[in-house]
């Protein structure tokens, strides 16, 4: 795949999970985008944000007309999202391996502030190659950050794979885990609304080319 094709594949891989999140799971709307008690969604895998922008537009966070000239000089929408430019985008991302550590801090901050808000972070299976994720996986479990959910889009992009499966990598550190079909909206919804008293990883499998 070329670079563009990889980003398109990244977007196509995340679209179903993003839609279910914003449509049925997250407690955040354009009106509550600055509410300290909102749920927060962190797109760690900033690659291929077209799906993210489309969902944000459909839900009213951004004007649909901004989609037409994305990546242009005056557009707030780039190939990697910028939280300063787009209201409702919780983190600026693009460089891989940053979202999960930040999400641990965000969830911890919500807990410290006694906020009912939850933190959801989306990472890719290829992105999990970055060592910073594994620091954060361990820390989240040790700190018992139960209001944190990591969604791993497993589209088989990891160069060397994950022997034993991705969920096992989280489970061995003490996370609650689930594995689902990332195209099945009901399965995504069910998985993302399961109660958990420890950090929770949902591995959403996406078949190549599907």
């Amino acid at each position: 795949m070329t670079g563009d094709e990889k980003h398109e594949w990244a977007a196509a891989s995340t679209i179903d999970v993003l839609w279910v999140l914003y449509d049925r799971v997250l407690n955040v709307t354009p009106a509550t985008a600055d509410d300290p008690d909102r749920d927060r969604f962190l797109l760690s895998k900033g690659h291929g944000p077209m799906a993210y922008y489309a969902v944000l537009a459909e839900k009213g966070f951004i004007d649909e007309s901004t989609l037409d000239d994305w990546t242009s000089w005056d557009s707030p929408l780039g190939q990697h999202p910028d939280r300063v430019l787009v209201r409702g985008v919780e983190i600026s991302s693009g460089s891989l391996g940053h979202g999960l550590p930040i999400a641990v801090g965000t969830a911890l901050g919500q807990r410290i502030r006694r906020s009912p808000g939850r933190t959801f972070v989306l990472v890719g299976d290829g992105e999990l190659d970055e060592g910073s994720n594994h620091e954060a996986i361990a820390v989240a479990a040790r700190l018992g950050v139960a209001n944190l959910t990591a969604i791993v889009i497993d589209n088989q992009s990891a160069m060397h794979g994950w022997p034993g499966g991705i969920a096992r990598r989280f489970a061995v550190e003490g996370w609650q885990t689930a594995e689902i079909d990332g195209r099945d909206h009901e399965a995504v919804h069910t998985a993302l609304t399961v109660p958990h008293d420890r950090p929770y990883a949902v591995v959403a499998k996406i078949e190549r080319g599907r």
């Binding site: 550590p101 801090g105 965000t106 502030r113």
Partner: protein, 298 residues
């Protein structure tokens, strides 16, 4: 018993943990025993410096005021991209506090030396940088930093001056002369004053415990009161770190600049003492005196 800068930092932050519900502390083992680990706002992530900074960024996004602390190379160099992206690019604030200076304890070798820390922060916009020269300067600088929401780096060291000076915005003129200006940063001040005395140099001596933002107006005003626009800057970190700012401040007048600091030309692999390293970098009184003599000659 003398208090060190590190002790002043720990005492101040512990007090602010009690006073300000926004303040949180994030460490990666180093100094963690000095903060109450049973407090929710005190987080030790283990030896995981990338996540230390990432967690701090997340805490800031959630409305807290994180203090991030470690030995300088592990606070600044190892997680540099996290500082750039998880703090700066997210447009959030935090207070980074390092210990170790450039080579406070050189028996540990190069891995524990960080003369390039301030230069690295200079590559990132929006950082305030404090380089206190005495433990009594640490508390007021920190208290102000904790009140604000900006990005602050506080560089602590075992090297210190014999007395504290008032801290705040701008450089402080400690001496007035006509031959030029010497800007002494943080713990370099005592050695600069001795070197100037030893050479009977008729120079203005400015003291800086805050180097970013750089007090360009203060420097320019001091230069205008001399007969020569000759400026020597003595910094306890990489030589020339502030050269670009001095050039910018004096761009409208012909001037000469001499930058003194930890030398760039080679990696020094010797162990020894901090004083040994001072001598090797010409940052002892003898070396500084020689520099003053040659630069302000005539």
């Amino acid at each position: 018993m003398m208090t060190t800068m590190r002790e002043a930092f720990i005492k101040t932050v512990n007090e602010e943990l009690d006073n300000d519900p926004r303040v949180a502390v994030v460490t990666a083992v180093i100094s963690s025993s000095q903060f109450p680990q049973d407090r929710e706002r005190v987080v030790d992530v283990g030896i995981r410096e990338q996540t230390m900074v990432g967690v701090a960024g997340g805490l800031a996004l959630a409305g807290l005021r994180p203090v991030v602390h470690s030995y300088a190379p592990f606070l600044v160099e190892r997680p540099y991209e996290q500082i750039k992206l998880d703090i700066g690019h997210q447009d959030v604030g935090a207070v980074f506090v390092s210990i170790g200076g450039s080579y406070d304890d050189p028996v540990w070798g190069r891995t524990h030396q960080s003369p390039g820390d301030v230069a690295l922060f200079d590559t990132l916009p929006g950082w305030t940088v404090h380089v206190p020269g005495h433990p009594d300067e640490v508390t007021p600088l920190l208290r102000q930093a904790l009140k604000d929401d900006n990005r602050v780096y506080v560089r602590l060291s075992l090297r210190e001056n014999s007395q504290a000076y008032p801290v705040g915005e701008g450089f402080t003129a400690l001496r007035h002369g006509k031959r030029g200006v010497v800007l002494a940063v943080g713990p370099m001040l005592d050695r600069v004053l001795k070197a100037v005395d030893s050479e009977n140099a008729d120079v203005t001596v400015l003291y800086a415990a805050t180097v970013r933002p750089f007090d360009s107006d203060g420097l320019l005003a001091a230069v205008r009161e001399t007969d020569h626009a000759d400026v020597m800057v003595v910094e306890p970190y990489l030589e020339g770190t502030s050269a670009h700012l001095i050039s910018e401040a004096l761009q409208l007048i012909p001037h000469r600049v001499r930058c003194i600091g930890v030398k760039r030309h080679a990696e020094l692999r010797n162990y020894g003492t901090a004083e040994d390293h001072d001598a090797a970098h010409d940052l002892d009184v003898v070396g500084l005196g020689s520099a003053v003599r040659s630069f302000f000659r005539g």
